[in-house]
């Protein structure tokens, strides 16, 4: 049986991890490769690197980051941000990333999902969906947003999730815009709806504030993985502790 995955997310700006990460005894807390290997040693099942560099001229920087990260870890990692074509996807995958994540580009040209599937296989194609609760706007009351959560699309989250699977997505990274950064827990209703509507793995993101939130996530929804950033970065929750607690609560994990 597959175990539930714990995935730290690192935001990368111009080749450095930002939002600040505080590990004890770590001289350079902004190096994506060093941080990746620390998380990997702590027992992370996978890593997500999100390139938030705005300009496209900086593409070569993220490729460099990918190469360094691939050199320093032996667990899978996904790269997202700025991938909007087969070319940009090829750049990161052939330099050592295992999966690419697309978001805005998937909404603007869904055919890209299929193109990526046909070349790399659906195992490498993650579609990220940013969801916001807007009562009455769409059938599920959750609407898809793009451009970093700033632009509403009118798309229904559940319908869109089913669509991206048809187009060829092998995994969905589902972020609740409402819960992101609040530390009040994952959006269980959203996660439950989406993970029950599709038969590909779903990574839940947004709102993790403590261990209880992960237990809740895995007990109450079909999510395959929980993703979080700040609670790991600031050492509020250690991955090893989290996994031990999950196991104690009957949730299968890799320890």
């Amino acid at each position: 049986m597959l175990v539930k995955r714990i995935i730290p997310c690192l935001d990368v700006y111009k080749g450095r991890v930002v939002k600040g990460i505080k590990f004890r005894n770590l001289r350079d807390a902004g190096d994506p490769a060093i941080l990746g290997s620390v998380y990997s040693e702590e027992g992370a099942d996978e890593l997500v690197y999100l390139d938030i560099t705005a300009s496209s001229e900086d593409r070569s920087v993220i490729v460099d980051v990918v190469r360094k990260v691939a050199k320093s870890i032996d667990i899978p990692f996904t790269v997202g941000g700025g991938i909007n074509s087969v070319e940009t996807a090829t750049q990161v995958l052939t330099n050592g990333a295992d999966k690419i994540s697309i978001n805005t580009a998937a909404v603007k040209s869904p055919g890209l999902i299929t193109d990526l599937r046909d070349i790399f296989g659906s195992n490498c194609v993650v579609v990220a969906i940013d969801a916001k609760r807007n009562l009455g706007v769409t059938p599920s009351n959750y609407e898809v947003y793009i451009y970093g959560g700033s632009v509403p699309t009118g798309l229904d989250v559940v319908e869109w999730a089913k669509k991206v699977v048809e187009y060829g997505a092998g995994e969905i990274l589902l972020t609740s815009i409402d819960h992101d950064g609040t530390k009040k827990g994952f959006d269980l209703e959203l996660t439950k709806m989406v993970s029950e509507a599709v038969n590909v793995p779903v990574i839940a993101s947004g709102g993790a504030g403590n261990i209880k939130h992960f237990i809740e996530l895995f007990k109450k929804t079909d999510a395959d993985a929980g993703l979080a950033a700040s609670i790991f970065h600031f050492g509020e929750v250690s991955i090893r502790n989290l996994k031990e607690e999950l196991r104690r609560n009957g949730i299968p994990v890799r320890l």
Binding site: T94, V200, R254
Partner: protein
């Protein structure tokens, strides 16, 4: 030890190379299919069939070299298949047209409805038969990312199985030909140990 990774698809070969080269005195090159020839195959101890790409596309590139590769295997060349690379050691696949090498009699099939596809994430390998490959691996969890698996006609060659809706062969071996359905290069310490065990095994 000297090895080569066959380049028959698009994807992450970097980590595979790194996974093998993490072990002392092992050098691995990446070789394009059209550059494969007898003298090259004689110069390496093992060939890695990596887990990147699509069955049909990879099969198209691989098949013209089938006889060359099988002759080398008869002369003592070892093969290590990863994910799709394992499936290419069977006869054919539901993923699409094309043929594999047929080292293992079997056909790759899709997971049944009702389970999540792709089978993605960390899962356990249950050891069916004793093998040097499993030595010293305390936590037999490995990283999988696939929608098809090779179903073998002859269970003698199944060394380990994994459960995802069905029990499927996740480690197979026949003399010097070994295949794993997971990605050892992405499976942390357990994966690296398995690669090390493999290298020691074929060293004899």
């Amino acid at each position: 030890m000297k090895g080569a990774i066959l380049n028959y698809g698009v994807g992450n070969l970097f980590s595979v190379k790194k996974g093998f080269e993490a072990h002392s005195n092992t050098r691995v090159s990446i070789i394009d299919m059209e550059n494969l020839n007898k003298s090259f195959l004689r110069s390496v101890d093992f060939l890695v069939f990596p887990g990147v790409g699509h069955f049909t596309a990879a099969s198209k590139k691989l098949l013209p070299m089938k006889n060359l590769i099988m002759e080398a295997v008869d002369e003592g060349l070892s093969i290590f298949g990863i994910c799709l690379g394992l499936q290419l050691l069977g006869f054919s696949s539901m993923e699409g047209a094309g043929r594999g090498l047929g080292v293992f009699k079997g056909h790759s099939v899709r997971f049944p409805d009702g389970v999540k596809i792709p089978h993605m994430g960390w899962n356990k390998v249950e050891y069916l038969r004793p093998s040097k490959l499993f030595e010293g691996i305390d936590s037999p969890y490995f990283y999988f990312a696939h929608s098809y698996y090779l179903s073998l006609d002859d269970s003698r060659y199944v060394l380990g199985v994994t459960h995802h809706g069905v029990s499927f062969p996740s480690v197979v071996g026949k003399e010097l030909v070994v295949g794993v359905q997971f990605h050892p290069e992405k499976s942390g310490d357990s994966g690296l140990r398995l690669i090390k065990n493999y290298l020691e095994m074929i060293k004899g």
